[in-house]
């Protein structure tokens, strides 16, 4: 006997998990399409006649309150891992047939035990706000069909008894079996609409007309096909991430989310027979910045409450500069025995100390000021980003074209505000700032630049290189209505 655990509307469920108003009509839309269509919708939306493949425009016409969501691959991955972890408790001989569908070999389990385990699995997923369907049948393929059929049943568990297989299949539309659309189309032109009708045809007639594909389906529906499972184990990476539909600027929603993460992650760790040795929390802020924190746990554990207290305690102490847009929590699974044996043993002499030093540095200069600087592809001056510290120093790219010559600019950070008098012809005449003061004796420029007019980073500047009486050459910059000394040459 085989069982199939299936999460219908998987991609939508993954996105809506944690939302409170899932009774409302929702549709998942692929916005990379030129003519966007609904990928999947919930039952509330389906009641308005919206279905996968419907143009979004039509969907909105039929149901103006339809809420549109976009696929979230991270949420999907998180749900997939959770599903694996939960199913692991039901039976370890398991195939990850698809991202949202697991096939389990239940041989050895009695009818009662099987049904109980199936129900328990469903409920554990429901606790994680995931609706699943279970199919039970003599072959993996039929169990899969049974799981699809289960979606239509209120019990969400459907057993396809071998003794009454054809009668059961008579109730299932062709589409239940995920046949190729063209094949379904052909069968429908024959007037066939249910799997039982197809399974009753003589095999030879099917072979003559539909070839190998038809025969494969015929064999499958007649329990003649039972390939071995390709067994899998739960993944060793335990991570949860969620982008928030609305940015939040208070702690409560973040804690709520973290508690949900921990509940799911704890299950995953249990399936792995592991505990958490460390956690990494990353908060993506609406400003585009990231707040990251790694927690090295003194005592590895998978106790939700303990882990939650660690996170809660830390989050209460910090003040974020912008609302939170996304939350990521990662566990480092460790074998409890090994961890106990050598918790501080690593390849580094003292990585804990190193981490602590970096943490302190981040505390002093801020996250955004630690890393390796790289110039952005932009006309804007001094436009750079900080990448993660590289493992090794790369060779600089060779410059082509005419050599760049002239004195080197020593850039002042931050630039110094200045007062500049200029002549009637528009050229600078005198500069005064905290450190620079004098009449301009020579100049080059102006050089004008502007960009990013389409977003918040819009900039516009005029630059001059000026020499003052002392013979020192400075770079002056005018942005909007203010002047700056940006640095000096030489």
């Amino acid at each position: 006997m085989y069982g199939v655990l299936w999460l219908p509307r998987f991609r939508l469920q993954a996105v809506l998990r944690g939302e409170s108003n899932t009774w409302r009509p929702f549709a998942l839309v692929d916005d990379a399409q030129r003519k966007p269509v609904v990928l999947v919708c919930n039952e509330a939306a389906a009641r308005y006649g919206i279905e996968p493949g419907s143009p979004v425009g039509r969907g909105l016409a039929r149901c103006p309150e339809l809420e549109i969501r976009r696929p979230d691959p991270e949420a999907e991955e998180s749900v997939r891992r959770l599903m694996l972890a939960v199913a692991w408790d039901w039976g370890p001989k398991m195939e990850a047939t698809e991202r949202n569908l697991l096939t389990l070999d239940l041989s050895g389990q009695g009818e009662k035990e099987r049904a109980g385990a199936a129900e328990e699995t469903r409920e554990r997923l429901l606790d994680q706000e995931l609706v699943s369907c279970v199919g039970l049948a003599a072959t993996p393929a039929l169990a899969r069909i049974a799981a699809f059929a289960a979606e239509r049943e209120t019990g969400k568990i459907w057993e396809l008894p071998e003794s009454r297989r054809l009668e059961a299949l008579d109730r299932l539309p062709l589409a239940t079996a995920e046949m190729d659309g063209r094949l379904i189309e052909r069968l429908q032109t024959w007037g066939l609409h249910f799997l039982g009708e197809f399974a009753r045809f003589p095999r030879s007639s099917i072979a003559a007309r539909l070839g190998e594909e038809g025969v494969e389906w015929w064999d499958l529906l007649n329990s003649r096909d039972c390939p071995p499972l390709r067994l899998v184990q739960p993944a060793h990476r335990v991570e949860e991430r969620q982008e928030l539909e609305c940015e939040v600027d208070s702690l409560e929603p973040v804690l709520f989310l973290l508690r949900r993460f921990l509940s799911s992650m704890s299950l995953q760790l249990r399936a792995l027979s592991r505990v958490a040795g460390a956690m990494r929390l990353s908060l993506q802020l609406a400003s585009g910045e990231d707040y990251e924190r790694r927690f090295q746990l003194p005592e590895p554990t998978r106790e939700e409450e303990i882990l939650f207290r660690v996170l809660h305690g830390h989050l209460e102490q910090i003040e974020l500069r912008a609302p939170v847009a996304a939350v990521t929590l990662e566990m480092v699974p460790v074998d409890p025995r090994e961890v106990q044996r050598g918790i501080f043993d690593t390849a580094l002499r003292n990585p804990w100390k190193f981490e602590e030093t970096i943490d302190r540095l981040v505390g002093i200069v801020g996250n955004e000021n630690v890393g390796s600087p790289r110039l952005n592809d932009s006309h804007a001056a001094d436009d750079f980003r900080l990448d993660a510290l590289p493992k090794q120093i790369e060779e600089p790219e060779k410059e082509t074209g005419p050599p760049v010559c002239g004195p080197v600019l020593q850039r002042w950070r931050p630039p110094e505000e200045a007062v500049v008098q200029y002549r009637r012809d528009g050229w600078p005449e005198r500069v005064e700032s905290s450190h620079v003061r004098g009449w301009v004796t020579g100049w080059r420029g102006p050089w004008r630049g502007s960009g990013h007019w389409w977003n918040r980073r819009a900039w516009s500047r005029i630059e001059w290189d000026v020499e003052i009486e002392s013979g020192q050459v400075y770079r002056l910059t005018k942005t909007e209505k203010r002047w700056w000394v940006e640095g000096c040459y030489g």
């Binding site: 916005d31 990379a32 909105l60 007639s205 952005n376 050599p403 630049g449």
Partner: protein, 1039 residues
């Protein structure tokens, strides 16, 4: 020291350098004028696309317009060139044509040696960042630049070469320019200051950046240094440029020196229309006269004094203007059509000419119809007369076009261009993509546009909001800044639907030619207005689906022993007028639309001239001018006839004082303002010429002055000016209305008297007209015709006539079946009929899918007895699958009885629509009628509901219309088993239910009945989708 007056902008690109420039050429010329620039050279990429517009506007503003191009070389560099003389222009035009014709669209490039062939008559600039010098500088510094200059010197005479200097306030450019100056000093090649201008004003830089992104297929966020570093590439005053190059005055002075060497302007293009080869001893003038007189004898029987005088008058003018060759060439093309059995009819103002009528170019006798010749040709008119020829659309029209290419060579004839511009959808989608808006959001935005060319009632800002786009985000603000600037800029070049230009010499020396997207066609880089401005004659070969239908109807009638001569059908046929009065006009020409049907019921035409007015009345012109109703009201005696002025009575009498035709408008100007025929025509042309507001104002003022000089009452003046204004834009020439009236009347006549032939031809010439085949079939059935389904034993490729009341659908109706394989099948069948499906399979080359399609559509029933049985057998016939499962083939075909149950009626109907788009059975609404509540009436039932009563109707949407003149009102036509019902949706409700109305194939409408003058309309209160399992045919939307 150079002054501002010395500076001429020698390197400018317009938006016709597709995605390289960001302003219209006209805008560039206007801006140059505002900046007091003495001259400018337009150098668009690989073409003269914008040159005429630029030349015209620059000339209007007194700017020296120099013509050039930026030539893309095979090594990827771009070299600006300016034409010095006519030979240079012709050579360059030919060279660009050569490059364009040998490369895929947008990839034309030249070899250096090709530039050498023509450089003697061109000023060649070293270019800017894509020029060979700067490309070499970036790669290999000063040495590289020196070598690149040597290459240029090798192909361009030293006196024609300039080293281009630009300053854009960028760090590093001084170093480059110093190197260029050194090079100039070392070689003696003069320096030339330019601004490498891409747009008119600094604000256009945003457009330039968007275009750069589109060119590189990147979003703005990812474009980095591909974008402009600043907005310096706009046109600048001469004084500014002189100051910017104060250290290099020679570079500025050289711009003037270069300009002084330019002799060429587009005024001396040297275009000549081909000469017609006349018999020995004849001139073109004498031969035309002979042919016209001979034709007149045929047409009129006897040449009366009136006819002779008119012909002499016209011929004298044609001779004087040197147009005889043109008339002979058109006449010759008409002869070609007639000799090859292709129906042809001239339309437009040509029908005002007795010469055209005599030559057989037009079907309207202008003398009998008292048409105004001046609308066609006047002495003052320098442009070529406008002769448009209507031909049956499809292969026959193409054969005529190919004949023109054949006669005048590939480079002697070309289609005129159609400049496709950025409009609502395309502009929004492309700008939105670049700004990083999600596709889905853009999709929602564009879904809110209605199709077709009508004023979009949803304001841009509101539309943005309704699409769920955050109106306050910087991205949206950027969008709203860029969108209006991009709107209307050229996007790419298409081809005009039928306009062809030809030339005595090589046309490619007059305007560069390119490959059209249709193989075997070339297209000129100028559109029809450009060609007209340049005095290039255009002949329009327009395809009319109805001409093809009529031609086929006539042929079918002849084959069936009921010959028909359209020229001789009675013009007073009662039954034909009855059909029009009943607005039973689905499928006929021009008067089949909902608006026409509605007017027909009021108009109740009983004479041919009524039909002419009917054709003209439902036009934007009369409605804009608020004149359609006055005519009908006057006709019905509801309003007094007013001629504006008693002097206009003879002109306006036949249209009850309401000017309906352009000829009347000309006459009004002639009578009231003493305008000559030429002046009146100039007035009409100026007012219909959308491009020049100034030109329009000038002639309007002339009219006003003339009217006031003659002491015309101010109220009358206002009325006259308003009328002329609206008509000049949209009104028909009467002759054109008559030509179309002939076709409209004839198609109605065919529908009444040759229905079986007419509907057969209609189905064979789809797509065309206003209604889908399913609606045409339902209409025919209401007229008592019967249709038989497609059948491989009986059907031909096209639909065929079985008897006076029965049509057999052709296999062309079956979707997914190739014509070539059907034709092969027909040939095989002609030799010996098929005995069985096995026989059919064995002797034809149908693919498996085609056989399935045929079986599904019922076309194999003759062998199998039913669709399912046919499907069962067809599937069994697939040999390639059987080999794997030999056991399946042990069954004997005869014994392989289908276990499939037969299709039910609804299943057959679905199969019909899926397979052919039509059903020969009942209307789908009849099938679902029992499931509908009784409150939903049929289209026929709605007619009996008194005005003001609540009414519900449901049906298949066959037409959604939103005419530009209806102020946002939407008209929906629903079809059911009894006919068509029409509903009116007001703009507020439409905006609310826009998506339902636009996207649903079947609708349930609730509203109030309105009965007026024989028409029934439903004033819509609510629209819902009709959610039933119904097969849908196509609808005709928003035309």
């Amino acid at each position: 020291m150079a002054s501002g007056a010395d500076y001429i902008e020698c390197h400018a690109r317009s938006a016709f350098s597709f995605l390289y420039g960001a302003s219209q050429p006209e805008t560039m010329a206007e801006r140059a004028s505002e900046l007091d620039l003495a001259g400018m050279a337009l150098c668009d990429r690989n073409g003269f696309y914008g040159s005429v517009r630029f030349h015209q506007r620059a000339t209007e503003h007194g700017i020296r317009a120099m013509i050039g191009a930026e030539l893309v070389m095979m090594d990827g560099t771009a070299v600006p060139v300016i034409v010095l003389n006519r030979r240079g222009y012709r050579n360059l035009s030919r060279l660009i044509t050569r490059a364009q014709l040998r490369a895929p669209k947008g990839e034309a490039a030249l070899a250096w040696k090709e530039l050498a062939e023509v450089s003697e008559d061109l000023a060649v600039l070293s270019g800017d960042e894509e020029g060979p010098l700067e490309v070499a500088w970036r790669a290999r510094g000063a040495e590289g630049m020196r070598e690149a200059l040597e290459t240029l010197r090798g192909v361009v005479p030293a006196e024609n070469l300039w080293i281009e200097l630009q300053r854009h306030c960028l760090r590093g450019e001084d170093q480059l320019n110093r190197a260029k100056v050194d090079l100039a000093e070392a070689t003696g090649i003069p320096l030339l200051a330019t601004n490498g201008t891409n747009f008119a004003v600094p604000e256009n830089r945003t457009v330039q950046d968007v275009f750069t992104c589109l060119r590189h297929h990147v979003a703005l966020d990812n474009a980095g240094r591909l974008l402009a570093p600043n907005n310096d590439r706009h046109l600048k005053p001469g004084a500014f440029m002189a100051a910017r190059f104060r250290d290099l005055p020679e570079a500025v002075l050289n711009t003037r020196r270069l300009a002084e060497r330019v002799e060429f302007t587009l005024e001396n293009l040297g275009y000549e229309f081909p000469r017609y080869p006349v018999p020995e001893g004849e001139t073109m003038d004498s031969f035309l006269e002979k042919m016209a007189m001979a034709g007149a004898r045929d047409r009129y029987g006897k040449i009366t004094r009136l006819v002779r005088e008119q012909l002499q008058k016209e011929l004298a003018l044609i001779r004087k203007l040197g147009f005889s060759g043109y008339f002979l060439i058109v006449w010759d093309m008409i002869r070609y059509c007639r000799d090859n059995g292709i129906m042809v009819q001239g339309r437009g103002s040509a029908a005002n000419s007795a010469v055209c009528y005599s030559l057989g170019i037009t079907p309207v006798d202008p003398i009998g119809a008292k048409l105004l010749f001046e609308r066609f040709l006047t002495e003052a008119r320098q442009a070529w007369p406008d002769i448009d020829l209507d031909l049956p659309s499809g292969d026959q029209r193409e054969s005529v076009i190919q004949e023109v290419y054949q006669r005048y060579s590939r480079r002697g004839a070309a289609m005129t261009a159609n400049v496709i511009t950025y409009r609502g959808r395309s502009a929004m989608r492309e700008i939105g993509k670049v700004l990083g808006f999600p596709e889905e959001m853009l999709g929602r935005f564009t879904d809110l546009y209605a199709s077709g060319d009508y004023p979009h009632t949803l304001e841009f800002r509101e539309q943005v909001k309704q699409s769920g786009i955050d109106i306050e985000s910087p991205q949206t603000k950027a969008l709203m800044h860029v969108y209006p600037q991009v709107y209307g800029l050229p996007r790419h070049l298409g081809q005009h639907s039928g306009g062809m230009i030809i030339c005595q010499g090589e046309l490619d020396a007059i305007v560069p030619l390119e490959n059209a997207s249709m193989t075997e066609r070339t297209v000129a880089q100028w559109d029809k207005d450009d060609c007209e401005d340049m005095g290039i004659v255009k002949v329009d070969f327009l395809g009319l689906g109805m001409m093809a239908v009529m031609q086929e109807s006539i042929e079918l009638s002849r084959e069936r022993g009921r010959p028909l001569d359209l020229a001789r059908i009675p013009k007073d046929d009662e039954a034909t007028y009855d059909l029009m009065c009943a607005a039973d006009t689905v499928g006929v020409f021009q008067v089949e639309s909902r608006a026409q049907m509605s007017t027909l019921r009021r108009m109740k035409p009983r004479t041919f001239y009524d039909v002419v007015i009917e054709v003209a009345i439902v036009r934007p012109g009369p409605i804009v001018g608020d004149l359609a109703h006055p005519f009908l009201n006057r006709r019905d005696g509801l309003e007094e006839v007013d001629y504006i002025d008693e002097k206009l009575k003879p002109t306006l009498e036949r249209t009850l004082g309401v000017p309906m035709f352009q000829e009347q408008v000309l006459k009004m100007a002639m009578v009231m303002a003493d305008f000559s025929g030429s002046e009146a025509e100039e007035l009409r042309r100026a007012m219909s010429f959308h491009r020049s507001h100034e030109r329009m104002q000038r002639v309007e003022k002339k009219l006003l002055d003339a009217l006031r000089e003659r002491d015309v009452d101010e109220a009358k003046i206002e009325k006259i000016v308003k009328t002329i204004g609206s008509f000049a834009l949209y009104g028909f020439p009467e002759s054109h209305a008559i030509s179309f009236g002939i076709l409209a009347y004839a198609s109605c006549y065919l529908k009444v008297h040759h229905a079986v032939e007419f509907y057969t031809a209609l189905l064979n010439n789809q797509p065309m007209g206003f209604y889908a085949p399913a609606t045409l079939i339902q209409d025919a059935k209401r007229r008592g015709l019967k249709f038989l389904p497609p059948c491989v034993v009986e059907s031909e490729w096209v639909c065929t006539i079985i008897d006076d009341r029965t049509i057999r659908l052709g296999l062309l109706m079956v979707k997914g079946v190739a014509k070539s394989r059907v034709e092969e099948m027909l040939a095989v069948r002609a030799r010996r009929a098929f005995s069985s499906l096995v026989d059919l399979r064995a002797r034809t080359r149908f693919e498996c899918d085609e056989l399935r399609s045929l079986a599904h559509a019922g076309a194999l029933n003759a062998f199998a007895g039913s669709r399912r049985k046919a499907l069962w057998q067809v599937e069994r016939l697939q040999p390639e699958q059987g080999d794997l499962f030999a056991s399946g083939f042990t069954e004997v075909m005869a014994a392989d009885v289908s276990p499939l149950r037969e299709m039910t009626y609804p299943e057959r109907m679905h199969a019909d629509f899926e397979g052919t788009g039509v059903t020969v059975g009942m209307h789908p609404m009849k099938l679902v009628r029992p499931q509908l509540p009784e409150s939903i009436l049929t289209a026929e039932g709605v007619k009996t509901v008194p005005s003001g009563r609540r009414v519900e109707v449901a049906g298949a949407v066959i037409c959604r219309q939103r005419p530009g003149t209806a102020k946002g009102v939407v008209f929906i036509s629903l079809e059911d088993e009894t006919g068509i019902s029409n509903s009116i949706v007001y703009p507020d409700l439409f905006e609310k239910l826009r998506l339902t109305i636009k996207t649903e194939a079947f609708l349930h409408i609730v509203g109030t009945a309105q009965q007026a003058e024989g028409s029934t309309h439903i004033l819509v209160k609510d629209v819902r989708p009709l959610k039933l399992e119904l097969p849908a045919a196509a609808s005709h939307d928003f035309h």
